[in-house]
Symmetry: C2
Subunit: 408 residues, 2 copies
DNA sequence: GCCTTTCGTTCACCCGCACAACAAATCCCG
DNA sequence: CGGGATTTGTTGTGCGGGTGAACGAAAGGC
């Protein structure tokens, strides 16, 4: 495996922080890894790795195990490093247009507990949704060991989220505009923990990159089909955010100048062809089921022909995306995964027809490796991010004995 | 000014390399900077900066000056750091569709010498162009001091360049396909120096970011109008390359499904509306002048109306780009800068009409800050890049006494 | 059963940056 | 005009953190 020497620092404190975080990132990614593997991955000395692991162990984040049974080749077996039994965790929130999913996610990415509640159609007032979410958070946090620190909350929002402060600029399907949803949830909870908000497609991309279909692929795009259509872009291994954090709004790329009116005010946006409302209309699905279009499509048994044009439109739009971003992988999430399963042929053909040969030859379309949990796990990942940037600092500010605090 | 602590390293050798490179990058950017400013910019200790500068001085890259006359406030004046009189340099090549421009560019970004030669229409065989370019390189290198080291050659190509090895996959207006132009030039030169190739739009973006209209702006796009239309994207301060290096091919975004046939085989690409051929047709400019469309437009005195639709098409296309990438700045390069000067109003209006409010409110359109030299200077920048990554290593492999070697 | 291989552990070492103390150069104010 | 305040250069010391060598431990292979 190739040495990982990405980026550089300015002084040796920063080096230590980074290396500590990188070790933890590897353990988080692999769940179980040997110290020998870590030395190879990080191109550091054996003794350095030993010391780093020791420090993480004393922080209560990882545990060392006796050499695992799985052996390969000669030599003394290497000590294993795994996540601590009672380790830090985060709360992940996936805000959909019809329901909120909240999960307690351990370092390592396992969903330990999960709770769901419906959201009234049209979203409802943000403070109502906020108190619903706060209730769900209380529920999933309840069972956590008192000693386990809560690192933060990650929230996925189906809309435009400003990078600088997490303000929800616009969430069309919730009918929100300039809502500070993070503060609302915190106020309803009555505690102060770090909260990260981001767009659902961005988080889907993040999760698929870290743990899903995009493992090891540094240039990928996750297209979220969630009433509206958006893209999360990872390029060179990092999230493409853009100046304000709004990059990837591909739903409003022009598609059919003579087409339908889009809610954004323009005519013929891509979303008017491959958005949930358009597809529902094509297959005669009632308006009320649009929010669960994925399930509808999974059980769709109507004529293939009804979706042919949609598949073609999907492929043409993907061609634009492939030309613009040159990804190695495009993951079709949300209801688009169900759609793709039905009309894969049309999509592939349309993509091949419109994409330039050079970017097309290296791109693959795929379904999410994490199923419908991509976005939720992505929300967990952003909440974990500070831990990897600086484990000592993140654990220092983490909240312990959370159950009692939230009950009181 | 905010401290610059971007990225982190893995060990202290890397820290040293990075800090050395960062100091040099700052001197390169400012040409003249005080050690006190460097300590503030890099958040390092005075003594550390002094040591770093000393090392760069002993490498022959920078010189320390007595405190400059420009004073501000009390206190002992700080020693200046400037580029060495006889310092390292690079050769930049801007390959256009009708001419090649070659320049000797010193560290600091000054064009010391420049030479130009026409390229036969249709490009001609790559080896012919290669030997033309090699001849120009000999010419600009001739006058360089024998002691000055040549760090490398940067070449801008109007087409798709594979990131991994610099292969020119496709350059439609040169009629090239899978040409290893770097090796061709090196063979014609008869020496072995590091050669970097990249797409012209990418290099325009790089140069405008480092020294032009995009100084200090970390999310910008340079749109190159150079017969075809392409975009170079910088996001988060780094070049967006994509999996193969082909990201930013916006010329073939779908625009008018019922429109003209594009050379890429599709119908209604954006390029068929705002490409040089389309504009030439709109203003009745003869085919033979298409390659110098910028000059034609600068002297255009015909009816404004002829370009109105083009301006609108430009604005609509930019809206897609703004939605997709969310840049803070869009620089219109090549003939697009001449076009924008003529139809600014139409472009701005069309952009405002189609772009989403959130990304639109923070974006600005502008002309290149470096005039027609953006791409050339971008080619110089990629050639300099290894120097900033590791000054010691780059200078170790640099070529000295180049004039004699190339003559022989 | 011995050799080889691989890894953990320990310790001395080196490198690079921080910090403190002092000197130098300039501004400011009386 | 002269002394304090301010800012920076210079020098020497100290510390943190990764390296590397030496040795022991735990496996596989013949």
């Amino acid at each position: 495996m190739t040495a990982q020497r990405r980026g550089l620092g300015t002084n040796q404190e920063a080096v230590r922080r980074h290396n500590l975080g990188t070790v933890l990132r590897h353990v988080h990614g692999a769940r179980q890894i040997s110290r020998a593997q870590l030395t190879a991955l990080m191109a550091l000395n054996r003794s350095t790795i030993a010391d780093l692991v020791l420090e993480l162990e004393s922080l209560g984040v990882v545990e060392q195990t006796v050499p695992t049974g799985v052996r390969s080749g000669a030599g003394r077996p290497s000590a294993g490093v795994r996540l601590a039994e009672v380790g830090p965790y985060v709360v992940a929130v996936d805000l959909g247009v019809d329901r909120a999913v909240v999960a307690r996610v351990a370092l390592g990415g396992d969903v330990v507990e999960r709770a769901t509640a419906p959201i009234p159609s049209g979203g409802g007032e943000a403070w109502q949704v906020g108190s619903t979410v706060a209730g769900l958070i209380r529920r999933v946090v309840e069972g956590a060991p008192a000693a386990a620190p809560l690192l933060g909350v990650g929230i996925s929002v189906p809309g435009l989220v400003r990078r600088s402060d997490g303000l929800v600029r616009l969430a069309p399907n919730l009918e929100w505009r300039d809502v500070s949803f993070g503060s609302i949830v915190l106020a309803a909870l009555g505690v102060d923990v770090p909260v990260q908000l981001a767009n659902d497609a961005d988080l889907g991309a993040l999760a698929e990159h870290r743990r899903g279909a995009g493992l090891g692929i540094d240039d990928l795009i996750y297209i979220s089909g969630n009433v509206g259509v958006g893209a999360g872009v990872i390029t060179g291994g990092v999230r493409l955010e853009g100046a304000g954090g709004y990059a990837g709004e591909v739903g409003h790329l022009p598609f059919a100048p003579e087409g339908r009116l889009c809610h954004c005010g323009n005519v013929g946006c891509w979303e008017t062809e491959v958005g949930a409302h358009a597809i529902a209309a094509a297959i005669g699905c009632p308006e009320s089921d649009v929010v669960t279009l994925g399930d509808v499509l999974d059980e769709y048994a109507g004529p293939q022909r009804a979706l042919g044009a949609t598949g073609k439109a999907l492929g043409y739009g993907l061609a634009s995306i492939v030309n613009a971003f040159n990804p190695r992988l495009v993951v079709l999430g949300g209801y688009l995964s169900s759609l793709y399963a039905l009309v894969r042929h049309e999509v592939d053909d349309a993509l091949a027809e419109r994409a330039l040969p050079a970017p097309h030859e290296s791109v693959t379309l795929s379904l999410p490796g994490l199923g419908s949990d991509s976005v939720l796990l992505g929300a967990a990942e952003i909440a974990l991010e500070p831990l990897f940037a600086d484990p000592v600092a993140a654990l220092g500010t983490a909240l312990v004995d959370v159950g009692a605090r939230l009950a009181g």
